[in-house]
């Protein structure tokens, strides 16, 4: 059969659109995520037919239908488990899991933590809007405490998950956060996630204009962004603030917020971000709802942690090769007969 696209001809974002009507609500943050994914895909250097999207259930999980790649829109919470099987069975495929805060952290919580631990080389995007949208507005495991929703008319009474802390606790090898309203940042994080060999967890703050509008605007609006958000860059100091005048330094293991214009602190005194330092990554992940000596810190975005370690599917293949080399393939006739037989004449 003639291939329509020559191998050396570069694909463009449109080649990744399935052409199906996109049915998210107007203004939904998911549109931006879809666009950024389609934008970076031609640059990833992967043959189109090798991409596989696996999603669960929820608004986010419809994503699969809109990508012109292989994909399964599966059942609630199970995308990570299905993706594990896809990647284990065929390590050649480029697997992307798309999920939401309910799908990944609530009904699929068990699969989420075990995927992080097992470290398949897959990308796990969680569109976190801190609300259940497809079921029309109930609180999610990331909804802030006290949130009024249809199922919590008097406010929720439970603590939310801090996803990056959860992922680190589950031994994730790549933990990052980005947001729908910062396309450039998202593109760079998506590329980094793809580059990382191992399970790349990308939490995307995603606005739900219908049930939880504006939750993350503080991190993207011009007026508030620089004070509320901390954009991490590897080997760079932790600086934020309207005039880049605030920094974070480490006093032992305690983060301290410092004003660069007073107290004699300079950039040289600041904490330098090291993606490979798990202790520091743990601290950064807690720039969420934890206060250190009464101070709350800006919300971190970027790559919080990245660690190279063996991936599951390769370990699996290696073990098979090792045993094959050592023991040799057992002929089927031998498997059928077993070790001990007797004849009846």
């Amino acid at each position: 059969m003639e291939t329509l696209i020559l191998d050396n001809e570069k694909l463009n974002p449109k080649d990744f659109s399935s052409g199906m009507d996109v049915k998210w609500c107007p203004g939904c943050g998911d549109y931006s995520i879809l666009k950024q994914v389609q934008t970076i895909f031609p640059d990833l250097g992967v043959e189109k037919e090798k991409f596989v999207f696996i999603s669960g259930i929820g608004c986010s999980s419809r994503f699969t239908y809109y990508m012109d790649t292989y994909g399964i829109h599966s059942i609630h919470g199970r995308a990570a488990a299905i993706a594990s099987g896809v990647k284990a069975a065929n390590p050649d495929l480029d697997v992307w899991i798309v999920s939401g805060d309910g799908d990944a952290f609530s009904i699929g919580g068990n699969h989420f933590i075990h995927l992080m631990r097992k470290n398949f080389n897959v990308n796990y995007l969680v569109f976190n809007n801190q609300i259940y949208s497809l079921t029309k507005g109930q609180y999610s495991p990331t909804s802030e405490r006290g949130k009024i929703t249809k199922s919590s008319p008097f406010g929720t009474i439970e603590e939310p998950f801090n996803p990056s802390e959860l992922a680190l606790g589950a031994k994730a090898s790549f933990v990052s956060r980005t947001l729908d309203r910062d396309p450039k940042h998202m593109q760079s994080i998506l590329k980094r996630a793809h580059q990382h060999k191992g399970t790349s967890f990308v939490e995307v703050y995603q606005n739900c204009p219908v049930f939880n509008d504006g939750t993350f605007f503080a991190y993207s609006d011009k007026e508030t962004k620089k004070e509320a958000a901390l954009f991490l860059e590897n080997a760079k100091p932790l600086i934020f603030g309207n005039n880049d005048d605030k920094g974070i330094r480490l006093d032992g293991l305690t983060p301290v917020l410092v004003d660069l214009n007073s107290n004699g602190y300079s950039v040289d005194d600041l904490w330098i971000h090291d993606e490979k330092d798990k202790t520091k990554a743990n601290l950064i992940s807690r720039f969420f709802d934890t206060s250190f000596n009464g101070t709350y810190f800006p919300r971190p975005f970027g790559v919080i942690y990245a660690e190279e370690r063996p991936v599951y599917e390769e370990n699996m293949e290696h073990q098979i090769e090792e045993v094959e080399t050592k023991k040799g393939k057992i002929p089927l006739s031998k498997i059928l007969s077993g070790d001990k037989t007797w004849n009846i004449i």
């Binding site: 399964i72 099987g85 284990a88 069975a89 009846i344």
Partner: protein, 623 residues
């Protein structure tokens, strides 16, 4: 062998017998399962037909010496064809008082008891809850039996006094004394077990030597002790000629999967989560890394089936193995697999339910769940295995159906079959049916479009591996438009798709063999219709009844969905139909519903297999 040449001075008689049932019974830590399996292997290698029934508690080490901790292994072996592990036993090995208490009711009158004397001390009698001062070995309550009291513990200790082994290791070897003694009693050689011990303890030669020494001591004890005067000889069975091996149901299932993988050319992937009594299939397959088998011990039952669905999507022969509680957890994903129309083999090794139920006991109570246990209408092929060796063929068949008809297939085994063993005249590789797999490699629609749900003449959709150029497409759990697979909420389309999915499964009728009468005539007064592990008990009961002149026949079903095309025709040729099941009448409901016949059920829900007598008694009553 040296010890066999030693001529004892005592007088002994050798009795030839057709068949014998031995029950090894002791504490969970006494090694009765291993002892029983070793005895079985040797009997099988000697050419006896056999059937075994391991019967143990679900606790790994239940309180020592108690009735709850009794672990039994029953082996029925003979020179005639054997189909069950036996209703009652001829020989009972009782390692302690609790074992005797549990198993005495099923010992034949006049049967032999070999009692481990130290297992009947004050403490053991108390733990077994005999009234104070009562010792069954001393109060004439066993006068209808032949009782051999043997101080197994003492003999073992004496035998290993100079071994340098600790008291724990010495105590652990006492099952070998019993085994040696039984080998003498039934005139079997020690060779196979000696070989086994050497292999098992290849890295601990002192333990191997000790076990072999005790094994031989047991044999010599039988040969020289005055109390043992009779040896039994069981000639090799007259089975059809060929090469045989001994096999358990779970192992047969495991190698059935490997065989199907090799014959189909598909890589084998097993996603599983440990659960009794299915775990051995996972254990077995994980040993076959040498053959490229991928086993994935998932984080839970749901991930186990979901990972298998993922692997199936990529073009693997995908399997998940489980038992009742796990089956319950898998149902949603099973619905997804039915909706995606992706091949998958689900092996449910049934156990007593509901809930945690009786984990180590057998039951056939998942049939209706296998048939209907999914939301929405999601019919799936359901196959049942009828004996340990039949697990191979049934599982192989299930794989063939799954990949050739693009559907999940459920295989029902059960605890009795899974752990039980029997001789198996295994097939040659070339005699295995071919498995034909096609992957779609180029567009099947107009203008280079891919139509993932365009069906062939058997209603089967194409299998398309991700990674195939230009065939990118999405599938999912939402209802899909006929042919294109695009999401569709169209009312008529949903009805068409529901029907197509059902027709596809129904159509498999054209590919399965017709039902046939296993025993008896194709017309008559009474038909006994069975499925699953009741095979041996029904076969034996029907055979005996026919021999006694009753007009009865037996049909056993492997294919429960779809049923064989000719089954209705056969059923109507009998005046009465009896359906024995280890549940409250599940096949009974299906048969009544399908054929509108007044079939009668015989149910047993005790966590134990039917005895031949139970079925025969009902046959006689209905005749």
């Amino acid at each position: 062998m040296e010890i066999l040449k030693k001529l004892p001075e005592k007088i002994r008689t050798i009795k030839n017998v057709d068949k014998i049932v031995v029950r090894f019974s002791g504490d969970s830590g006494d090694g009765m399962q291993l002892t029983g399996m070793q005895f079985t292997d040797t009997a099988a290698l000697a050419g006896n037909d056999i059937s075994t029934f391991p019967d143990y508690p679900s606790e790994i080490r239940a309180p020592i010496g108690t009735v709850a901790g009794v672990s039994g292994f029953q082996v029925h072996f003979g020179s005639t064809e054997i189909y069950t592990a036996g209703d009652s036993f001829d020989v009972l090995v009782a390692m302690n008082a609790a074992a005797l208490k549990v198993d005495l009711p099923r010992l034949k009158k006049g049967g032999i008891i070999i009692a481990n004397l130290q297992g009947f001390d004050k403490k053991n009698l108390m733990l077994a809850q005999y009234p104070e001062g009562v010792n069954p070995l001393e109060d004439n309550s066993l006068e209808n039996y032949i009782v051999h009291e043997v101080d197994i513990t003492k003999h073992t200790k004496e035998c290993l006094a100079d071994s340098g082994l600790g008291i724990k290791d010495i105590e652990r070897s006492k099952n070998m004394f019993v085994l040696g003694l039984l080998f003498w009693k039934f005139d079997k050689t020690l060779d196979n077990t000696i070989q086994f011990i050497k292999e098992k303890f290849s890295k601990k030669p002192e333990i191997a030597d000790a076990n072999i020494k005790v094994l031989k001591a047991g044999w010599n004890y039988g040969d020289s002790a005055e109390i043992f005067t009779t040896q039994f000889k069981i000639a090799p069975a007259k089975l059809p000629s060929g090469t045989y091996r001994n096999i358990t149901g779970n192992h047969a299932a495991a190698i059935g999967l490997i065989a199907a993988s090799e014959k189909s050319g598909l890589p084998l992937f097993l996603g599983s989560y440990p659960i009794t009594p299915a775990t051995d299939i996972l254990h077995d397959l994980s040993k076959y890394k040498s053959n490229g088998v991928k086993t994935f011990q998932a984080e839970d039952e749901i991930a186990a089936i979901c990972s298998s669905i993922g692997a199936s999507y990529t073009g693997s022969l995908a399997v998940t193995t489980t038992s009742g509680p796990g089956m319950s957890l898998k149902t949603e994903a099973l619905g997804l697999a039915a909706m995606l129309e992706t091949p998958l083999v689900v092996i449910d090794v049934q156990r007593g339910g509901p809930s945690t139920g009786l984990p180590t006991k057998t039951e056939q109570s998942d049939l209706l769940m296998a048939m209907h246990g999914r939301h929405g209408e999601a019919p799936l092929p359901v196959l049942a295995t009828s004996s340990p060796s039949d697990c191979f063929e049934t599982v192989y068949e299930a794989c063939k159906i799954a990949v050739e008809h693009m559907t999940p297939v459920i295989v029902l085994s059960d605890g009795y079959i899974a752990n039980g063993s029997e001789p198996w005249r295994f097939p040659a590789e070339k005699d295995l049916a071919s498995i034909n797999v096609k992957f779609l490699n180029e567009a099947n629609g107009p203008d280079g479009k891919v139509l993932p749900y365009k069906r062939d003449e058997n209603f089967v959709r194409p299998w398309i591996k991700p990674g195939t150029k230009s065939l990118e497409h999405r599938i999912g759990g939402l209802e899909k438009e006929n042919e294109t697979g695009n999401v569709s909420y169209n009312a008529k389309n949903h009805e068409i798709m529901t029907k197509l999915r059902a027709d596809k499964v129904k159509h498999i009728q054209n590919f399965i063999p017709p039902a046939k009468v296993d025993n008896g005539n194709e017309r008559g007064k009474l038909l006994v219709l069975g499925w699953g592990s009741t095979y041996g008990a029904i076969k034996t009961a029907v055979k005996e009844a026919i021999d006694e002149g009753f007009d009865v026949a037996h049909i056993h079903l492997r294919y429960i969905n779809p049923l064989p095309k000719n089954l209705g025709w056969l059923l109507f040729r009998f005046e009465k139909v009896l359906i024995p099941e280890m549940n409250s009448g599940q096949l009974l409901q299906l048969i009544r519903g399908e054929f509108l016949i007044p079939a009668t059920g015989l149910s047993k829900v005790q966590g134990l297999p039917f005895t031949t007598a139970e079925i025969k008694e009902r046959i006689i009553r209905m005749s």
